[in-house]
Symmetry: C2
Subunit: 530 residues, 2 copies
């Protein structure tokens, strides 16, 4: 069963080992285990639904509670403290586009806002219900079947509510993969990926969801938008691009066709260490600009490298590795690069060899597949550490952006410094570390993680998060970064969107959404503020 | 000096050899050399400008005539017959964004429509002036400087009026290339490429203009839209996508930043022949789906292959080649594939070897670099054949679309048959042939050329073209293709846009353009009909 107030499945616990805990305590002080509210306590404050009865709409309190929030830190605070705030007045689980249309009409008749719900994994406040009007949550859970697989065009069509594992399983049965693996993969959905412009860990090979999304159907208050598939087109505005990143503001994506590829014959993840950040950063830029057919490049800064090695357990083995690396010039400030390649074995291995040669040019030390395979094994498990940290009294939050190369180092430093200063004003320290999660010829995404102590009461913890979020978002914008590279905007990032879109850009988005949703009932308060 | 009523520079003539002429005569009958109007005759009917005087606006008749039309066949008919019809009332050559803004204000004060003019190479009627209101043509000619080259991010910023050769020369001086080579390259402009979603001959390596356009500045009646550059972003609507394919409807792109790459160390174009279309088509699909790092795949059908060999001259050499090919199984219905690779020599040659191996699996016969290099040499000269054919009394027109793989063969057959039937109704034959100009894992572009006889009088030739254009456009839409893969929509394709966008899709485009251009003065009548 899925956890109602944390990440993932209740049967999966990833523990923090004593060494890792000691590592954190030394940096930010000992944590104090908080007390969580029970599900019953959280549900107790939920008010009666304001929606009229409808055969497709479930107004049961527990169903409404389970669809009220995502996985952002303020969402967690509301869940853990049993202070859900606004929850949807009802949740529907449509099984067809017709039912979605009927539900939109029902919402209009009820004067209700509509919040689409995919996997509930948003970390940017995409799912919050409206306080001012009744809210209907439309969960896409039951729209998950593969409708069609065209192996000639390598196109597959799915109900947009299909989750990552379900989608990959349906494709794998035919020898295909989408290759889209965000960290939320186990719960997030195809539709959610599209409307938040998601990026997977192996986007270097498979592309971002923008490149994978080929067409589909959107049900909007103004009618149905059918987007046909073409390999490419010069026919005016690309309608796919209106749906990508629309975050529910113009309608509900019910059906999506995606570009798939044959399962790779071969896949490997290797680790390379560099003596310091500057050489590592130069190496990954050269690698990205060499356009080698790799599937992943992921570079951790020195503190993240140290943290990953501390969290790995196996203290003795890590000690041996570090000693060996030190002899090869990778000591205190060393940075770890993970390099993945997938596909035809010959091509993939040639790409890896070329990558290692470039890395050697910056004194990179290739240590083989051990740590890379370990990363692969844990790629969807590391996120469970948020649960473990919470139990020890620590919050883990992340932010991410992307910038052209000249801005990358400055942004990383500014984001980490802003976090330290923001929490310093609350008398707290932060353990901040960063990796470049996606590498492009033009620049990189900068993904920072913050570990800091929970106070244990809702108001104080919300205030800490607000200070942190505001400070790092300001730092991102001031550094010239986008407010999100892969998580989307939601409610949490919306105040910083104008910095990159400009007034006129936001106005264009408003005009667009307004044409599809003249009453402004689709996911109000998200993405573009009124 | 540039030809005022045909393609290219007056000093360049590409002649049709006697064999080629005989080849055409045998197929569609002898042509009769038409009589062209002189430039003075064409200008004589131009009425006085309806615009008020402005220091930036040239109302000289000849300047207005030279900016009245593009390169579509109906544009040629108007030029050749000296029946220009509506011409702009004035032409401005702004040197800054400030001047563009001033000109937009001036147009508003004059109640004038605004037609942006790049290189005047449109083949879809993008440049036609308005009949109902005064028209100001804003030519971007003087906005052509490279403002910035950021070699760290591989980004270059240019005035949007820069032409292909000028852009490449400015980059080449620093060791970089954009790699965007549409057939119109010699005259078409960066801004034109962006707003019509252009695709270059080597887009397999460099990407379409959509992938190359990183940001820029658009001056619109509602204000300035500045689009910053990011390597990627999940922050809502991608503003670049609102500008791409906008065809002047929302404003004027004055400045564009593009993703450039280092000049390749190595570049080669090879030819491979296949015994028939089916094996050739299967081979290119396999090649595209193998995602080899090639720079070009271009497959001619049997009639195009035969035509290219006939046009090549060198009858004896072609005879030897054909004999040699026949011995290897490529006889009557043989199809020629051009394969290009660029970049690092080792990687490019490995990709070519892998490509030839795949081709062999479909009985493809690799004949080396001769014809490929010949194609490279003539890549921007073949378009001059339109002039030569005209002098012999023949029209050459083209259409193009793109489709998922299952539709490719049917569309090709339907387009060629529609052309034959349409001209048959005029008692004329057509010589129609096709190539797949751009190959994608998902499908291909289908690019058809039609050669048919000119009647020599304007009305008859316009009627022939209208029948042809309408029939092939209907065939494209009925086959499930996009109305344009690389030429854009303009006025000529606008009636068929709703077939792919749907009513709601068009309405969304209208709402978007209306927000930037509430008075509807920007390039009216193009892209989206009122």
């Amino acid at each position: 069963m899925r956890r109602w107030n944390g990440w993932g499945d209740e049967t999966i616990d990833v523990e923090m080992n004593a060494d890792a805990l000691g590592f954190l305590e030394a940096r930010i002080g000992p944590g104090q285990a908080p007390t969580d509210a029970s599900f019953e306590q959280a549900c107790a404050a939920i008010r009666a639904s304001r929606l009229s009865p409808h055969p497709l709409v479930d107004t049961n309190t527990s169903v409404r509670a389970l669809h009220a929030l995502g996985q952002s830190l303020p969402d967690w605070l509301r869940l853990r403290h049993g202070r859900l705030g606004a929850v949807p007045d009802g949740v529907a689980f449509p099984e067809s586009a017709d039912q979605v249309r009927a539900l939109l009409a029902y919402a209009a008749a009820n004067g209700a806002a509509v919040v689409p719900y995919g996997g509930g994994t948003s970390v940017a406040g995409h799912l919050t219900a409206s306080l001012d009007q009744p809210t209907l949550c439309i969960a896409l859970t039951r729209l998950r079947a593969m409708r069609n697989l065209d192996t000639e065009s390598q196109l597959a069509s799915f109900g947009a509510g299909v989750t990552g594992p379900d989608l990959e399983a349906q494709l794998r049965a035919h020898g295909y993969t989408l290759g889209h693996f965000p960290q939320s993969f186990e719960y997030s959905t195809l539709g959610g990926w599209v409307v938040t412009r998601s990026s997977g860990q192996q986007s270097l090979r498979y592309g971002r969801i923008e490149q994978l999304f080929a067409g589909g159907r959107v049900e909007t208050p103004a009618g149905t938008l059918d987007i046909p598939t073409f390999p490419a087109s010069a026919a005016g505005t690309d309608l796919r691009e209106l749906v990508l990143g629309s975050e529910g503001r113009l309608g509900i994506l019910v059906d999506a066709t995606v570009r798939v590829t044959k399962l790779p014959d071969y896949e490997a993840f290797h680790a390379v260490f560099f003596p310091d950040w500057d050489s590592a950063q130069r190496a990954v830029r050269t690698l990205a600009q060499a356009r080698l057919p790799l599937s992943m490049l992921r570079l951790s800064n020195a503190v993240e490298t140290q943290t990953m090695l501390a969290l790995a357990g196996h203290k003795r083995l890590v000690g041996v590795l570090e000693k060996w690396l030190r002899l090869r010039g990778c000591g205190e400030g060393k940075c770890m690069l993970l390099v993945g390649a997938s596909g035809n074995k010959g091509q993939a291995r040639a790409a890896l060899r070329a990558a290692f040669a470039i890395a050697r040019g910056e004194r990179g030390v290739h240590i083989g597949k051990g740590l890379g395979e370990r990363w692969r094994h844990n790629r969807f498990r590391n996120v469970y550490l948020r649960n473990a940290a919470w139990r020890q009294g620590y919050a883990i939050d992340t932010v991410e952006t992307a910038l052209d190369w000249p801005g990358v180092n400055g942004a990383m430093a500014a984001i980490e410094a802003a976090a330290a200063q923001a929490l310093g004003e609350h008398g707290e320290r932060v353990h901040a570390y960063t990796h470049l999660s996606h590498l492009y010829p033009q620049g990189a995404s900068v993904y920072s993680t913050f570990v800091y102590r929970l106070a244990g009461d809702y108001e104080t913890d919300l205030a800490r998060w607000r200070s942190l979020k505001s400070a790092v978002s300001e730092a991102i914008v001031a550094s010239g970064g986008t407010i999100s590279h892969q998580h989307g905007v939601g409610a949490d990032h919306a105040p910083w969107l104008e910095a990159e879109k400009g007034h006129l850009g936001l106005e264009a988005m408003r005009a667009l959404f307004n044409r599809f949703d003249p009453d402004g009932r689709m996911n109000p308060g998200k993405l573009v503020l009124p």
